[in-house]
């Protein structure tokens, strides 16, 4: 096992990684920007180093400075967390050349899943279902029209390098497609420097269900069941739960096995997540693979009893999994909500000075916090300030416990989405497990 690890991240995830390192007796090195000098992760780590000015390009993405600190402090490995440098092949390569272990999959595996078109080809070869469409960029809008007529409208027009909803549009007619093509191609070129466009069947009433996998460097791969993450705003997840209320044992096994095939086909090791769309007829389709730890990993930890960060560290250090698929347990039901510093109605960011902060304390609650009672929430980073996770013996108990926990959550000085989360937890459609990706637009925003 490693003796010393640098955490190339901030916020709650840096704190969460440091916590497991401490449990395993690993020394920790934190990095921070000028805006984060007082942040919790800086205080928790054994050593902490300033990397630069507040904007991420000058601090948390400052690869030269981060690698310098690695050399100076003699760390053996880097945990990238999620976002920031976690799926950056250039960074992983440079760490590797410097003799430092990147805690994640190989550079080749990150690259294989980094392009939507390349990953789709790989999944078709591995017999993992993909959304009907074509696996190569369109030549022009007219080719798009002819493909759309083959697979049937509505179709989704997507940019290969896209993310966060940018460069994506649902179209219903030839005319709409022609119009959308030019606009989205321009935007894709501007934002991602890549104007390759592709097209696929639009899945109606979709659910976002993802499968967590773990793979060691010896070739053992297991799946740790699924997470249902359909409740989103601005294409970002807000509520996540495990298991999914929509899956039965047979579908769970089919999706789990498909996820393992996907991972094995690209020689994947470490923790990873295969995201699927599931339609109302229970067909599932590969969406993308996240080659890192996910924000919502705690719900999987709650039902399996595993510590995913500890598993990541062991795998990166070369240890074998030491258990088989049949030994993975599934116990109870867990729900996570993301607490965002934002207006609960418009979802506009709300940075500022926190004047009072109290997270609920119950034995069924897990709090992951990026802030404390006197924290200042700066406008430089993601608006997520905390995660709240509860576990119950079943979904009904988990929902009622989440409601109880949210009633005891107190944040003053800034606006948060807590009122919106309470609304979701109280909603009959949520209780019925009727959670599709348009949940927020359909049930919360329309009032």
């Amino acid at each position: 096992m490693f003796r010393k690890v640098l955490i190339a991240n901030r916020g709650e995830i840096a704190c969460r990684v440091i916590r497991t390192c401490k449990l395993l007796g690993i020394s920790t090195v934190a990095i921070y920007s000028e805006a984060d000098a007082e942040a919790p992760h800086v205080k928790m780590a054994d050593e902490a180093f300033l990397v630069g000015a507040p904007p991420v390009a000058q601090s948390y993405l400052n690869v030269d400075r981060i690698l310098e600190i690695c050399q100076e402090t003699g760390v053996e490995a880097i945990h990238p967390g999620y976002g920031l440098l976690s799926e950056n092949t250039g960074f992983a390569l440079r760490a590797q050349s410097a003799g430092i272990t990147f805690i994640g999959p190989s550079v080749e595996a990150i690259a294989a899943m980094g392009s939507k078109i390349e990953s789709r080809k790989a999944m078709i070869a591995a017999e993992v279902p993909v959304v009907p469409g074509i696996a190569r960029p369109l030549a022009d809008a007219e080719e798009g029209v002819s493909v759309a007529n083959e697979i049937g409208y509505p179709v989704m027009l997507k940019a290969s390098g896209g993310g966060g909803g940018i460069g994506m549009q649902v179209v219903h007619t030839d005319e709409e497609l022609r119009k959308a093509y030019a606009g989205n191609q321009n935007r894709a070129k501007q934002f991602f420097g890549d104007d390759a466009m592709y097209i696929e069947k639009y899945i109606e009433e979709p659910r976002h269900v993802e499968v967590q996998i773990l793979a060691d460097q010896q070739g053992n791969t297991v799946y740790l069941w699924e997470r249902e993450c359909s409740i989103q705003r601005r294409h970002q997840k807000v509520v996540e739960e495990a298991p999914s209320p929509f899956l039965d044992a047979q579908l769970r096994q089919q999706m789990g096995e498909a996820a393992v095939r996907a991972a094995k086909s690209i020689g994947y090791s470490n923790a990873g997540t295969i995201e699927f769309l599931v339609d109302k007829h229970r067909n599932f389709y590969f969406l993308e693979m996240n080659t890192r730890l996910q924000v919502e990993h705690p719900v999987t930890e709650a039902i399996t009893g595993l510590d995913l960060v500890a598993e990541q560290l062991r795998i990166a250090a070369g240890e074998a999994l030491g258990y088989s698929q049949a030994e993975i347990k599934m116990d109870g039901h867990a729900i996570e909500v993301r607490i965002y510093a934002e207006d609960p109605k418009t979802f506009f960011p709300s940075p500022g000075q926190i004047t009072a902060f109290e997270a609920p304390q119950f034995d069924f609650v897990r709090n992951e916090l990026a802030v404390g009672p006197n924290s200042k929430v700066t406008p430089f980073y993601d608006p997520m300030i905390a995660k709240l996770i509860v576990k119950g013996k079943d979904r009904t108990e988990a929902i009622s416990r989440m409601q109880q926990a949210l009633d005891h959550y107190r944040v003053e000085g800034i606006k948060t989405n807590i009122p919106m989360l309470r609304e979701v937890m109280a909603h009959a459609a949520f209780h019925a497990g009727d959670t599709t990706t348009d949940f927020v637009a359909k049930h919360i925003q329309k009032k």
Binding site: A341, E342, T346, F348, P349, P351, P379, Y381, P383
Partner: protein
């Protein structure tokens, strides 16, 4: 005379108008940036820009006056 205010706290990313400019209702005058999100602020009435009360790179709070417009 009417004031265009910030609908959220954040950094001023771009100022799109200068004093003397004519703006139309619905025209973006300032783009704010906060927490990885860009929010254009539009004029809710037309007129002539009398004063720009923010600068690019500066920080504004929700409700701060960004631009003053005269009919």
């Amino acid at each position: 005379m009417t004031e265009i205010t910030a609908s959220m706290a954040g950094n001023v990313w771009k100022v799109l108008v200068k004093p003397g400019d004519t703006v139309e209702e619905g025209q973006d005058v300032v783009i704010l940036e906060s927490m990885k999100m860009e929010i254009p602020i539009a004029a809710d009435f037309g007129g002539t820009v009398k004063e720009v009360k923010c600068e690019e790179g500066g920080f504004v709070n929700e409700g701060d006056v960004l631009v003053v417009v005269e009919d």
